[in-house]
Symmetry: C2
Subunit: 142 residues, 2 copies
């Protein structure tokens, strides 16, 4: 958290209360919230906060590399304080997005490495999360 603030200062980015609130809300958050969820949460602390500010802040934070933007959900962007590469499981029952922090080894044919300069990779696993397979309540409809 503090290293993130330091990082932002180095970029000459102003630390406004709204931005700090967004960062605080995201810090340690494993729910991959959308801009709207972040907006709602931050608004409770700073009722004056606007949507535009949340969006612009999320863009600034993403571009500074302090948070990352997930493209896992086709409906809306989601944000993640964890910037180191990791994978995700999308529960096909409750639609929850779960971090896969484990070491995953991928083996691709040599010719692919010759054809493309591959810089990074991201795996989406589709399946059933622990909660749902436990016969857990399927609270979320879709």
């Amino acid at each position: 958290m503090n290293s993130k603030l330091k990082q932002l200062k180095e970029f000459g980015i102003k630390l406004t209360p709204q931005r700090l609130a967004i960062l605080e809300y995201l810090n340690g958050n494993r729910d991959h919230p959308s801009a709207e969820m972040i907006y709602k949460a931050v608004k409770e602390k700073f009722p004056m906060t606007s949507f535009a500010t949340v969006y612009s802040t999320l863009e600034v934070l993403t571009k500074s590399g302090v948070i990352s933007e997930l493209k896992v959900d086709p409906e809306r962007r989601r944000y993640d304080p964890e910037t180191s590469p990791h994978h995700h499981l999308i529960c096909t029952k409750c639609r929850k997005i779960v971090d896969i922090n484990a070491e995953v080894s991928i083996k691709i044919p040599d010719y692919l490495d010759r054809e493309f300069e591959i810089h990074s990779r991201h795996i989406e696993f589709y399946g059933i999360c622990q909660n749902c397979s436990k016969g857990g309540a399927n609270i979320l409809k879709r």
Copy 2:
């Protein structure tokens, strides 16, 4: 192609000219077009075709399993006549989406298989495509 038509008939889905035109345009298409691109292409053949029809057809075709919907591009949905599982490379220069049909082996820790019922997986590779690494023209701006 014909097997797809057969498949649709079995589902009791009506084969209208618009639907056939969409299917024909998608057949063998490796560009992962968006709904708008499909709309434009189909409109040339059937100028009366509406956006709503394209969207509803794409939904029907996706639900019948005749085409698949890609979530690779966070800006818009893209469609693919290839329904068997394969992976994608997203060129970070020209934004092109390239099929990775090769066999890719993924090894995940045992505990993940215990925690989740994993049904499928999809890898996004990020890198530079052949065209761009050849010093090829970077036609598309973003």
